[in-house]
C-alpha cells in the first residue's frame, strides 16, 4: 500500500475515538462527584447509608471513609464497601444518627493508583 494511504488509515484509526466521542473532556482522578446525603445538605431522617460517587473507578481495598459527629468523634463502624455493579461508588453503613451536623472525611485511591481526599458536612434535622 502506498504510504499516503497508510497515513490516512493510521490517522483515521487514531482519531476515530475523537469523532465518536466528541470533544467532551472527561474528568480524571477520583474526585467526589456527588454524595447521598448530598454535600452540605440537610436531611430530615437519619440516612440508611452514606453513598459516595466518584469521577473515576476506585479501589475499595484502599479507600477510607469516616463519619464524624459534631464533636469530631467517629460514629461509623467501618464496613466500607464498593457498590455492587458500580466501581465508582462507595457505600458506608451508618448507625442511626441523632440530629446534628456530621462530617464525612474520605480518602480515595483511583484504579490508576492516584490518591485523593476530601471532606464535607451534612445535617440531620427532623
Amino acid at each position: 500500500m502506498k504510504p499516503i494511504a497508510l497515513t490516512f488509515a493510521a490517522a483515521a484509526l487514531g482519531a476515530a475515538p475523537a469523532l465518536v466521542a466528541g470533544t467532551h473532556a472527561a474528568q480524571a482522578h477520583a474526585f467526589l462527584s456527588h454524595a447521598s446525603p448530598a454535600v452540605g445538605s440537610t436531611v430530615k431522617e437519619s440516612p440508611p447509608a452514606l453513598e459516595l460517587w466518584y469521577t473515576e473507578e476506585v479501589e475499595p481495598a484502599f479507600c477510607k471513609v469516616e463519619l464524624l459527629d459534631g464533636a469530631g468523634k467517629r460514629v461509623d463502624h467501618g464496613g466500607l464497601k464498593a457498590a455492587p455493579g458500580d466501581k465508582a461508588e462507595l457505600i458506608l453503613p451508618v448507625p442511626h444518627l441523632a440530629p446534628g451536623t456530621y462530617k464525612v472525611v474520605w480518602h480515595a485511591v483511583s484504579v490508576d493508583t492516584h490518591r485523593t481526599q476530601g471532606d464535607f458536612t451534612f445535617t440531620v434535622a427532623p
Partner: protein, 317 residues
Amino acid sequence: MSVLGILVRALHYASAIGLFGGLLYLMAVARPAARCTGMRDPIEERFVYRQARLSLALLVVSGALWLWLVAASIAGTSLGDALAPDVLDAVLGETRFGQIWLARCAGAALLAVLLAFLQWRAPGPGHTKARRVLDGAAFALALLLLASIALVGHAAAAVGGVLNWHLAADLVHITAAGAWLGSLAPLALLLARTSASDASALAVARATVARYSTLGIVSVSALAAGGIVNALYMVGDLDALIGTPYGRLVIAKILLLLAMLVGAARNYLVHAPRLRGDAAPMALARLRQTALYELALGVAVLLVVGALVSSAPATMG
C-alpha cells in the same frame, strides 16, 4: 510526584517500547528488506534480539520498582513498610493495578523463555515454521506488555468501565510510540554497518529505509491522532494547556515531538533519496545521525511522559 517515581515510570515505558519496537522492526522492516534484496538474514537480527532481551530485563526491574512505589503510595506507608507481606498481598490481590501487574509478570516470564529459546536456536538456515511461530508469539507478548500499560493509566479509570474511547486512543498512541521509538536503534545500526562502496549493502539500506519510512509515517500519524484525543480528555481546553503544570508538560512533549518530526521529515525527503552513487556516504551518515538524534529526543519525551503519568490531569473534578 517524586523524581524516583518519574524515573521508574519513564524507564518502564522505555523498556516496553524497546522490546516491542525492535521486534516490530525486525518483522516489518529488516527481514522483508533482506528478502527482497536476496539476503538470507538481516544484519540487524542479532542486535534486535539483544535489544529485546535487555529491554525485557529492564522492564522487569522497573516493573518491580513501580509496584513497590505504588504499594507505598496507596497504602500510605513508607517505602520500607510497603514490602510487608500483607501490604503486597492486598495490592496484588485486591487492586486492578496488582492484578494487571501479575498478568504482565506472567507474560514477561513466558517471553523470557521464548527469547532464550530463540537465542539458543539462533543461527539456523533461514526461518523454519517453528521459528516463525515462536517469533510471532514473542511479538504478540511484546505488544501486550506495551499496550497493557494503558490499562493502569488514567484512560482506563473512567467511570463505566475499561472499554472507552479514551482508552482506545491511548492504546493506539502507546503502540505507535513503541513502533516509532523502538525501531530507531536497529535502524541506526544498519546504517552504521552499511558501506557505501558495497553495492548490494547499499541496496539493502535503500530497501530498509524505504520500508522504515512507511512504518514511520504510519506510526507518527497514529501517534499524533491518538495523542490529540488523549489531550482532549486530559487537558480539555487552551486555558488548561497553558495554565496548569500538567498542560505545560503536554506542551513540552509536543515541542519535543515536533523537533523529532523535523529530523524524520529531513530523513524522508532529503537524505533517503540520496542513497545512490556519490551522495551515498554522506546520506548514510546523515540518516544515521538523525535517527540517533530522534532517539535522544525520544528519551526526553519519555521522561516528560513519566512526569505526566505521575500527576493529576488538568481536567480536575
